[in-house]
């Protein structure tokens, strides 16, 4: 499984995590290129359908990045995202899909270093899980 390069979709909130990713870039911090970032206004915007659709179209993992608890630009969007993802992971587990493929993380705009670390961790975790099996790669949505 050494050759397997996981594809990870990252939904990052524009106020904290995306800015954190930006900082990691401008600070020239090295991190794996496995993540494909999609910017959303708030992690609360991430519908569980986005996550399932990403997995269905061939992503091996999904990362959702939001502001730290209490720091949400929209006050409680990140809490809603967390609850949604918790519930959704339970459903995925029930269906026999590894819930660890979906991960929620808090990264602030000042944490470029932490962002790079998180990406490294997630990439290694998903690499261990292996590719997403039995995927119909046609967009059904």
């Amino acid at each position: 499984m050494k050759d397997f390069e996981p594809k990870i979709i990252g939904f990052l909130c524009t106020w904290c995590s995306y800015a954190g990713a930006d900082l990691a870039g401008t600070s020239r911090i090295q991190y794996p290129s496995n993540i494909r970032i999609i910017r959303v206004m708030c992690s609360g915007r991430v519908n569980p359908m986005f996550v399932v659709n990403a997995l269905q179209q061939g992503a091996d993992g999904v990362l959702i990045g939001g502001c730290h608890p209490g720091d949400c630009h929209y006050q409680h969007g990140n809490y809603q995202a967390r609850r949604r993802i918790t519930m959704m992971k339970k459903l995925l587990e029930f269906l026999g899909i590894e819930p660890d493929r979906v991960r929620m993380t808090w990264v602030s705009a000042a944490e470029g270093r932490k962002f790079a670390q998180v990406i490294e961790e997630v990439t290694e975790d998903i690499r261990k899980l292996g590719p997403m099996k039995q995927v119909r790669r046609k967009n059904e949505w």
Partner: protein, 334 residues
């Protein structure tokens, strides 16, 4: 006098509740008998599959199919119905979304067949007797239809023109269907292909319970845990799980009137592809948790764990046609 419509009602993996629902029209059923000529309806009249086979192609004006596609026989009947009918209507939750039979599509560790015939605790089957598709007894070959890998919605097998969801479709919906048939008999006009004969908004629009300005609840409560239920207040602020916010209208709040949360038998509205995920999204937004800032993952898990069976709760009727089902269906990569 206007020309009678030729009607065929065929069935697949079904409890035949849809047939009973048609008979539930009460005196309106007489109007139906004036309007249509039954060409095939094995549940209510003496018809055999050969009667349907003998008809000319497209001789049936409207073919109604209810039940999921579970066996090769179901698929065969569906194909014959399509061949003989001008218009095919998927009737009931099973034909629309796979319904309850499609919950068996969940990947169990062992084959579903083994589970049912060997491993269920109530099963005593030391010789491993299982139904076979063909067996020879005294040189006579007896056959049974084979079981398909998945139970699917009708649309997966044949082209479907109209959809009537519901488990079973409620009387007001069937009355709408009768109106459509009347219009067809009189003028030959039909609604556009792909129409869903039900409401377009969600159940909350037509549910009569009062909804407070802000709906929120602290935890999920099972109906049996409630001491006193407010008969007029929306069920969600009372903590009772109700799929109303994500479910299509059309039943006039049949269950919510009786203090029972909606189970989602009418499926999602037009633009939603995945009923359960949409509901998860709505439901968790309503959850009001105090001091969420200090809440740990374990505490959150505890709240979510109050729903013991997320699949049966959120996808009771729509699993067969959901995005999440397609996530692990074993089809070749495209």
């Amino acid at each position: 006098m206007m020309k009678k419509i030729n009607l065929a009602i065929a069935l697949g993996a079904t409890c035949a509740g849809c047939d009973v629902a048609i008979l539930d029209l009460n005196e309106k059923i007489l109007e139906v008998f004036d309007l249509v000529e039954f060409k095939f309806w094995p549940t209510a009249m003496d018809f055999k599959l050969d009667d349907l086979k003998k008809l000319k192609d497209k001789e049936v004006d409207v073919g109604i199919y209810h039940g999921a596609i579970r066996t090769t026989e179901d698929a065969k009947i569906a194909k014959i119905l399509r061949q003989k009918s001008k218009v095919v209507v998927a009737f009931g939750a099973c034909a629309n979304f796979g319904g309850i039979p499609s919950l068996a599509n969940m990947p169990f560790e062992q084959d579903m067949f083994d589970l049912v015939y060997k491993d269920v605790p109530s099963m005593d089957n030391p010789e491993n007797t299982v139904p076979l598709t063909s067996v020879k007894i005294n040189d006579v070959e007896l056959t049974l239809p084979g079981i398909l890998e998945n139970a699917d919605a009708l649309e997966e097998v044949i082209d479907v023109d109209y959809f009537v969801p519901g488990c079973p479709p409620m009387v007001p919906l069937i009355e709408q269907v009768v109106e459509v048939l009347k219009l067809y008999a009189n003028t030959g006009k039909l609604p556009p292909k792909g129409s869903v004969i039900a409401g377009t908004k969600t159940l909350c629009e037509e549910c009569g319970r009062t909804k407070p300005e802000k709906i929120s609840f602290k935890e999920f409560i099972s109906p049996q845990e409630v001491d006193e239920m407010d008969p007029d207040l929306c069920l969600l602020p009372q903590g009772i799980l109700c799929l109303g916010p994500a479910t299509r209208a059309g039943c006039d709040g049949l269950c919510t009137k009786m203090n029972v949360g909606c189970r989602g038998c009418l499926g999602p509205t037009d633009k939603v592809k995945d009923h359960g995920l949409k509901m998860i999204s709505a439901l968790t937004s309503l959850l009001e948790v105090e001091i969420e800032e200090e809440m740990t993952e374990e505490e959150l898990d505890k709240i979510v764990d109050k729903i013991p069976d997320p699949l049966g709760t959120f996808y009771r009727f729509t699993y067969g046609k959901s995005l999440i089902y397609k996530l692990h269906s074993e089809e070749e990569l495209i």
